[in-house]
Amino acid sequence: MAGGAGQGDARYCRNVPRIRIPATRYPVERFALPNGLRVVLAPDRSAPVIGVAVVYDVGIRSEPEGRTGFAHLFEHLMFQGSENLEKLAHFRYVQGSGGTFNGSTHLDYTDYFETMPANGLERALFLEADRMRGPRLTEENLRNQVDVVKEEIRVNVLNRPYGGFPWLKLPAVMFDTFPNAHDGYGSFHDLESATVADAADFFAKYYAAGNAVLGVAGDIDVAGATRLIEEHFSDVPARSAPARPDFAEPDLTAERRQAYPDRLAPLPAVAAGWRVPDPIADFAGYLPYVVLAEVLTDGDASRLVRRLVLQDRTVTSVGGYVGFMGEPFEVRDPTAFILQAHLPPSGDLDKVLRTIDEECERIGTDGLERGELARTQARMATHLLRDTDAVLGRALRMAVVEQQRGDAGLVNELPRLIGEVTEAEVVAAAAALRPSRRASLEVVPGGTR
């Protein structure tokens, strides 16, 4: 066990009492409209701003074969006009109210949101209700947005080094079925093949009121907001949610490893993933992995930064997180614990993977250092509180958590639940990251200037 991180160094945190982990106490109101739309309200009068989010229970995993990238393309189409609004009107109304907007497509959901001064509440609700009734799907808008999405892919993937690494590329190593394994940005061929009829079908199937959650956070009064929501959303036709398919796949039984060349990348990189317990059905079994990711990689006092970056100097950076999109509380099964590292020129990937195994084994056999878990949990609490300080962050997280777990109030509980994860649970999680369950992907640099 030569040279283990932090061995024999018990100075950290000596005599520092464990800090109390605080929580938020945002009031949470939940109700559903007769058409099936679920609503979450989180009033907070501390600043005159609001966040409004609508989350649909459809994402990259649900797009049909031959239509890779379609969930994301469709998200763009939801901004191209709706029942009462011309193209461009949505953007103009939000920004002309002093707000900003966006949407994003995830593995298990697609969100649409605005944040604006509080006097825009009714307008934001109107805009979301209008497109929930139906987007204006035209051939011209579809072709325009196919072009825009292709430029988005060029910016984020094709014209830069490490594009889509590892979130678009590691799933294909780890998973075998189309929903889990395919590239969610999509191929240009599939995008170009998309039709208006495809979009109409997708809307009809997935964009039902019963498949959506509306979240509103910030400077609202509950009675007034409830009245406005009923006024604007009650006549959205009732359509029930489609049955959600089972995307389950068995865990790996043997290591998988792949490599691909990146002509723009100057340095090697590697990502490794391991399956984790079901984030919804087995939340208690899943949370230790979320904590472990931070124990291993959060800051200069974390295990892998100390060992790989500061001591061995075998990597220039290392990061760890749960979920391919780095959102542990907004993902369903199957998902993964992921580590990624960038290496110096001529770095030794095998050595890096072996060292990671060694450090996980070390935690498995020696446990954690004094104070190591508590300080990691304290920092995680700060991150969680900071995320939800923005009304939009709060509205989004509450809406997704309501959709996936039926319990938006869990957002208030997360710092405490993280704080209750025990050392034994983290140790067991580390011990489960065995090479035989690992899927890894290597970037072979082709970058020469």
């Binding site: 701003v49 002093g98 100390r306």
Partner: protein, 449 residues
């Protein structure tokens, strides 16, 4: 299809500023405390002026590496100790630099406020720059520079800065590998001793604590920080020198990076509000002429944007778009067209009102979180402004007329005054670009003399 009216906005709420207090410490540090109790956290932003009198590549390398190693240990603590102690109170600090300043930013649970201040003080007065850690961070910085230099957005910006700032210190903002490799721990200690001092520095504290308590704690922790050191003034930026379009070859690029710089004025200039509105109408937000044209109509690009960038020595209007290689010249034509239209015809009343609402709403949103408020107040402080200047700025936005905006557009947005850079596959794009503007080639901005 029934036509529903878009709801009007509720009454606009006046911009209200949070409770703020300020204290000038005897060593020259200004401490600004702002109370926002939304979450039990505290945010810190310490801004230390670090300008250079002249363009110096070694200085850029020294300040870059200083910011990477300031937290790498003191006489009493290692880099890991510092990180672990901060984590214990849910905290973290990090250090960044630009040609104007060093910025130490951080946050923690509010119960750890005294601890994070204590560590900040230790680092400011006793940073050790240990040789091992410096050598590790030096190589990491070199690796990061290599990765940055493989990014088109980095290269395009670097080329633009060289073209517009020429011999001014702003011309080079990122060091080359060779320069970084020659920086020693001794150089860093001496740079720290010369320049890391409280005179002219500002510390902004935002969080869930009374302002007096914040000021007292800061005074107690930081009064011992030595007020010596040099005061350095940098020259004003040179006027823009329009001329041929600068084309930088990046073979096989699937997109071209289009950049234009235009003149701008500081926040306190009488034209500032009108210029900000003119920029919004042109390309400063999604609902602008340029974005609606080259994205929503033509599909040339994904995320074009335009903004006024303020630096201490001068302000500049910067516009950027990543466009498909085959439409580089047409995208340039549309850009020049939209700028020309701004400069020669007044905006419509509704365009101005929409931009005005957006600008005013953005101020409300920017200060609605602890982190946003801290960054906003710190940035203002770097220009000698306090948060209450927001009220004046909001008044300027509220009263700017079409005539004011038209005059500002004519003065600042005229395409004849632009400096233009394109980075892309020169062999493919040059013939068409040369039909629009005279072109001269420039090398990739990665020299390392």
């Amino acid at each position: 299809m029934s036509v529903r009216a878009v709801p009007s906005l509720g009454p606009t709420r006046k911009l209200t500023l949070p409770k703020t207090a300020e204290r000038a410490l005897s060593n020259g540090l200004s401490v600004i405390a702002i109370r926002r109790a939304s979450v039990p956290l505290v945010e810190l932003r310490l801004r230390i002026p670090m300008p250079s009198t002249k363009l110096s590549r070694p200085y850029v390398a020294r300040t870059s590496l200083l910011s990477q190693t300031m937290l790498s240990g003191t006489s009493q603590m290692s880099t890991v100790d510092i990180a672990a102690e901060l984590q214990t109170v849910g905290g973290a600090l990090n250090v960044g630099c630009d040609p104007d300043r060093l910025l130490v930013s951080g946050n923690s649970l509010v119960s750890g406020f005294d601890r994070i201040l204590g560590i900040l003080s230790d680092v400011l007065t006793d940073a050790a720059y240990p040789p091992d850690e410096v050598s590790t961070e030096r190589e990491r910085l070199v690796d990061r520079i290599q990765v940055a230099q493989s990014q088109p957005s980095f290269l395009a910006r670097a080329a633009l800065l060289r073209r517009i700032y020429r011999e001014h210190p702003y011309a080079i903002q990122s060091p080359g590998p060779t320069q970084v490799r020659s920086v020693t721990p001794r150089t860093l200690r001496s740079l720290h001793e010369d320049r890391v001092h409280p005179a002219g520095a500002t510390l902004v504290i935002v969080g869930d604590l009374p302002t007096n308590r914040a000021l007292d704690a800061a005074e107690q922790a930081l009064s011992g920080w030595d007020g010596g050191g040099k005061r350095v003034r940098q020259p004003p930026v040179p006027p823009l020198a329009p001329g041929p379009l600068t084309l930088v070859d990046r073979p096989d690029s699937v997109q071209s990076s289009l950049r234009l710089a235009l003149p701008a004025v500081p926040r306190t200039h009488p034209d500032h509000a009108a210029l900000q509105l003119a920029n919004l109408i042109f390309g400063g937000y999604f609902s602008s002429r340029w974005v609606e044209n080259i994205r929503e109509d033509k599909g040339y690009t994904y995320g074009p944007h335009s903004s006024v960038e303020h630096s201490v020595a001068g302000s500049m209007l910067m516009t950027s778009a990543e466009v498909a290689t085959e439409v580089t010249a047409p995208a340039l034509v549309e850009t020049l067209y939209e700028l020309g239209r701004m400069a020669t015809l007044p905006p419509k009343e509704d365009e101005l009102e929409q931009a005005r609402q957006y600008a005013l709403g953005s101020l409300q949103l920017a200060i609605s979180t602890q982190a946003g408020l801290a960054s906003f107040a710190s940035t203002y402080a770097g220009f000698g402004l306090r948060l209450d200047y927001l009220t004046e700025h909001a008044a300027g936005l509220a009263k700017a007329t079409r005539e004011d905006v038209a005059a500002a557009a004519a003065r600042y947005l005229a395409p004849a005054g632009a400096v233009t850079v394109v980075l892309g596959d020169a062999a493919k794009v040059e013939p068409a670009i040369a039909a629009v503007l005279p072109v001269e080639r420039a090398p990739l901005p990665v020299d390392d003399e």
